[in-house]
């Protein structure tokens, strides 16, 4: 479960409000899609959620644990993949995964079961022993996804996870996301691919200029936009142009 309670974050001594009074709850077993135009505040909100940025006010809780008072406990139960697959180029894929497993204290039995399975799923087994510097953008994205899923986190947070993935990998990821939530775990992800959000998400939040302007199921969003049985793209354009 993720809870944002009146969260704000500004830059340049308060001149730019990146996230403005965000209140949002994502329930266990739910896939939540976070949408918004470029620079709307999606990545800032996600970075605050995973502890990469400190919020100015409000509170963020993951499974009831405050990210500010006990950040390490939150990190232990979350898996995160950033929007840019920046990863140590001078390590091999396997070395990176082992490092993450060590720091997340994944027992050897679990890692020897999970790592080969995930590498196989993402078709990385053959290159796991190569330096990451030889990986393509999509392969880096997949090694980060493997690292995030390896310790079977309670909450999975993905920032633009489909970018750089080939259609097969994107399809596999969607299946993994659904399966993750079917086990009662939480998934929060941002995307610009509206079709994916429309088909995959239980609920969708739309953020614009730092403010959450709409949140709910597809049906609820249609009612809010007051445009009948239209696609998410039309709803998105309608709501963000207001």
């Amino acid at each position: 479960m993720i809870e944002f309670e009146k969260v704000s974050k500004s830059y340049n001594n308060g001149q730019v409000r990146a996230v403005d009074d965000l209140t949002l709850t994502i329930n266990p077993g739910e896939i939540f899609g976070f949408l918004g135009p470029n620079g709307a505040g999606k990545t800032t909100a996600i970075k605050m959620l995973v502890g990469l940025l400190i919020h100015d006010s409000g509170s963020i809780k993951v499974n009831g644990i405050d990210t500010r008072t006990d950040p390490l406990a939150v990190k232990k139960i979350t898996g995160y993949v950033p929007d840019q697959p920046e990863v140590y180029e001078k390590l091999t894929g396997l070395e990176y995964l082992n490092f993450i497993a060590d720091v997340f204290r994944v027992p050897p039995v679990v890692r020897s079961r999970n790592i080969p399975r995930l590498l196989e799923t993402f078709e990385l087994t053959g290159v796991a022993g190569d330096l990451i510097q030889s990986y393509s953008h999509g392969m880096r994205q997949k090694i980060l996804l493997t690292a995030a899923l390896m310790h079977d986190p309670e909450v999975l947070i993905l920032d633009e996870p489909m970018v750089g993935l080939d259609p097969r990998s994107a399809h596999l990821l969607k299946e993994i996301m659904r399966e993750h939530c079917n086990r009662g775990k939480t998934l929060f992800f941002s995307t610009h691919v509206l079709e994916v959000a429309e088909k995959l998400c239980d609920r969708i939040g739309i953020i614009n200029r730092g403010k959450l302007i709409a949140c709910g199921t597809m049906q609820e969003l249609r009612r809010m936009a007051d445009i009948g049985n239209q696609s998410l793209e039309t709803i998105f354009l309608e709501l963000t142009e207001k």
Partner: protein
């Protein structure tokens, strides 16, 4: 704007962070004090060092005056400066041409290779001026004032200073570009690049040996005799590097016309080689760069991962292991981080090799203790100069998000980084301690004393570096050499000089008041230990505070 000038302007902007400075400090007038204050602080911190240098060169001038060999001071400046540029420029150029992240952006642009090489050379040249200035300016100033130089001495001195790094940089470029071309052909490129750079160190050592053989021993009388000999100038400079004599003559000849002729000769010999070198380098450049970007994978696609691949470690050792792997597999980090640990023992070895002090060293434990203290001082100074600790955070760059997201406290992370920063000082301490151990025939007890004192003193030095990097890390680099080449190393060194200088002064005072040397050694051990613990306490607290803000 001409593409070359546009590129050069952008390179300067990128290297020295001019736009960042403008954006951060000069757009809001209330923030201007920060860079101004920083510059003032740097100036103040450098002042004792500069005053010390001026004092030293002033005394050296007086010594030279007795034998009418004052221009030797200028030879020292020009030859020393050029050697410095040859050595550091070689590494700098290597980093610039091999490891510049921006080359990927520049290659698709309609730029001629010579434009790219020229623009990058211009930035390296500017950096070399900044490196040389604190060492060369005091010499030129002392010489100019003491010999009551004519007015034209000053513009000539400026011209010599500006021309000084050109020849060694051109030599470095000649060495670097073919190396770059052939790098693309070998399998383990990173290893080849490191070995290529070590070849640069070998050149430096040969140079040093040549100069050392033509110089005097450490004996005072020998020095006097050598200085009064006719061939002193050509001995240390001319035979090795003829243009040095022209540069020195341009500043020391009494007649302006004669001096001008020498200056023009120095300028010609500095600039003319660039005419063929730049286009020649351009011919090799593209193939070398593009070859360098080809990354080889194993090509094996059906590998089965065995359970042995999942060896587990505790979090802190795992973090330390990651630090070591990334460090050793990034050539620019290895080159810059370890250069001092190679060069300083080599220089010490060469300096002592030409002396015969051990034969005259009385069998006195007091003198041996002083040797041990001095050797420990060299170890600590060497570690203060190392950039390993002062770039420990910066080296993570854009990957810092991984460390921030790990369920590992900031205290544990900086502890692992401190452990990483202490591995090389321990090895360096042993290497340096071996030199006096063999040359002065010390016992094992003195050897251990040097190592223990050196390592204990290196701990606070590393902690100072880490603290500085925590306060002002550079995480926005696209080019790994930007991570390791910042002011943090210099700031760490200056802070180290202040703290260890104060401790050394306390030691001198104790000796002056007749305190036994064994007690002075004990004083240093306790002082280093207490300082190390205190700084660790600060470091751990600061890390917890700073990590979330970075």
């Amino acid at each position: 704007m001409n593409p070359f000038f546009a590129l050069t302007k952008t390179q300067f902007n990128q290297t020295f962070g001019l736009s960042v400075l403008k954006q951060k400090y000069f757009k809001r007038i209330s923030q201007v004090w920060k860079p101004v204050g920083f510059l003032l602080l740097m100036g103040l911190a450098l002042m004792p060092f500069e005053i010390g240098l001026i004092g030293f060169f002033n005394q050296f001038y007086t010594l030279l005056e007795t034998t009418n060999q004052e221009p030797v001071l200028l030879t020292m400046a020009v030859l020393g400066g050029q050697l410095m540029v040859l050595l550091f420029g070689l590494f700098y150029l290597l980093s610039t041409f091999y490891f510049s992240g921006d080359l990927k952006l520049l290659l698709p642009l309609p730029l001629r290779p010579r434009d790219i090489i020229g623009a990058k050379m211009a930035v390296v040249l500017a950096s070399e001026y900044l490196t040389l200035l604190p060492f060369i300016a005091p010499i030129f100033i002392v010489y100019g004032i003491r010999c009551e130089a004519a007015w034209w001495y000053w513009p000539f001195a400026l011209a010599v200073f500006l021309l000084l790094p050109v020849i060694p940089l051109a030599i470095s470029l000649i060495l670097i570009i073919p190396l770059m071309r052939f790098t693309a052909l070998v399998k383990n490129r990173d290893l080849f690049r490191i070995l290529g750079s070590l070849a640069g160190v070998a050149i430096f050592v040969i140079f040093q040996l040549t100069v050392n053989r033509s110089g005097p021993g450490a004996d005072g009388q020998q020095l006097q005799q050598w200085l009064s000999s006719e061939k002193v100038l050509s001995g240390i400079g001319g035979t090795v590097f003829l243009p040095v004599n022209w540069a020195v003559a341009a500043l020391s000849l009494p007649a302006p016309l004669g001096a001008m002729a020498k200056l023009l000769a120095f300028a010609a010999v500095s600039l003319v080689p660039l005419v063929p070198v730049l286009p020649m380098a351009g011919k090799w450049f593209f193939r070398g760069v593009t070859g360098g970007y080809e990354v080889r994978s194993s090509g094996r696609r059906s590998r089965v991962i065995t359970d042995a691949a999942f060896k587990s470690h505790s979090p802190v050792p795992a973090f330390l292991l990651r630090e070591l792997k990334v460090f050793f597999r990034t050539p620019v980090f290895v080159l810059n981080g370890l250069i001092g640990y190679i060069i300083i023992p080599v220089i010490l070895f060469i300096s002592l090799q030409s002396n015969t002090m051990e034969e005259t060293l009385p069998d006195n434990f007091q003198i041996r203790l002083i040797i041990a203290l001095v050797a420990a001082g060299v170890i600590i100074l060497n570690n203060s100069l190392s950039s390993i600790a002062s770039t420990a955070i910066s080296r993570e760059g854009k990957m810092f998000w991984i460390s921030k997201h790990l369920p590992l406290s900031a205290r544990e992370q900086v502890t692992a980084k401190l452990m990483h920063s202490m591995i090389f000082p321990i090895i360096g301490a042993i290497l340096i301690a071996l030199i006096p151990y063999f040359f002065f025939k010390l016992t094992a007890a003195y050897f251990f004393l040097i190592v223990v004192l050196g390592v204990l003193g290196s701990l606070p030095a590393a902690e100072i570096g880490l603290i500085i990097d925590l306060i002002r890390p550079n995480l926005d680099w696209t080019d790994p050499q930007r991570a390791i080449k910042g002011f943090n190393g210099l700031l760490g060194f200056l802070a180290g000089v202040l703290i260890f200088g104060a401790l050394a002064l306390a030691g001198v005072v104790l000796i002056h008041y007749g305190v036994q040397l064994t007690l002075v050694c004990l004083f240093f051990s306790v002082a280093f230990l207490v300082l190390g613990l205190f700084l660790y306490w600060i470091l751990a607290r600061l890390a917890e505070k700073r990590y979330p803000l970075l």
